[in-house]
Assembly symmetry: C2
Homo-oligomer: 190 residues x 2
């Protein structure tokens, strides 16, 4: 999505440790009109995928997931982050390693919101190593549901998570895919 | 909003400790089409309030805040929750008492996203004692910005937070206002 690439170049800032700061429009301050366009683009890409629900994880993916679900005309389900394991028998849960914080956390969702008949589209703001998506796939598997694909705003392709998923046959669509990134600039995969 | 009251009666569940479970449409599984209607209703109520940005706090208010901002045609700003105090000079922060978890947490937002010229509409899913909104008002004050009002999906009027804000001259609009609530049923303020 060329408009997103241009926005990243104009407003994004590369910080040490492969961090791309786009808090001005994507996940702290939300440019909702632009995010709505991104949601419509995700809906266009997955129009024929039979998506029944969008699945995301707290917290920064929620705005885009909400707007993609709006454009697709389906509900969204938000997986919660917990500091410690939740052993309730009423939830599906998965342990996820956070690259940003350097620790594990437990993601959980009430079983009642995922059914074996669901075809789920995972939506998130970033895809780097893919740890969050691995955890969500684990949860989808526990529910006996189907993964229709993954849609992310920004993929940091050089961190490998997206290509690993594609190699496993998962459809992954990134609205912007970054090939390389330093404090001097970044380049996109085209 | 009559449609919301009916949905609460149909799908909500009252749990011990004044907890109203509406995770099936409001904050875990999101009925995005219905939330979009709620966002448009908030925009209608505050159409003449000169709102420049919507302000919310992680995580369960984000979907409605996003959709209210979409309907108002303004950006949204998401205040982050931190486990411990963030002393950075680049953020505004406030300590907030969590009724649900029985502890304090620090809410913080980068200074660059709030300007003295901003007229902010606080949007959240629930208003009970009003602790989160007090923290957000504190942050708005630190920024020298103006509070245009508060819009929430569900106010638990009997917990007093909404009326306390109104007594201080704050405009508070609740799409559904609960007068009383037990495991046997609930009644709305009309």
């Amino acid at each position: 999505m060329r408009a997103l690439e241009e926005k990243i170049l104009r407003e994004g800032k590369v910080l040490p440790g492969h961090v791309l700061k786009v808090g001005g429009f994507l996940n702290q301050q939300l440019d909702v009109a632009f995010l709505s366009e991104m949601g419509r683009e995700i809906a266009r890409l997955f129009a024929d995928a039979g998506v029944t629900k969008v699945l995301t994880i707290e917290a920064s993916g929620i705005p885009l997931a909400t707007l993609a679900a709006q454009a697709l005309g389906v509900p969204a389900v938000v997986v919660k982050k917990h500091a410690s394991a939740n052993q309730s028998k009423d939830v599906y849960s998965a342990k996820i390693y956070s690259y940003t914080h350097g620790n594990d956390y437990t993601a959980a969702v009430a079983k009642e919101y995922l059914a074996p008949s669901d075809r789920l589209l995972i939506v998130d703001d970033f895809l780097a190593c893919g740890n969050a998506i691995k955890g969500l796939r684990d949860i989808i598997g526990q529910a006996g549901a189907t993964l229709a694909g993954c849609a992310v705003a920004i993929e940091k392709q050089f961190q490998g998570g997206g290509d690993e998923l594609r190699a496993q046959g998962v459809r992954v669509e990134s609205l912007a895919m970054i090939a390389s990134m330093t404090e001097d600039g970044l380049t996109f995969c085209r």
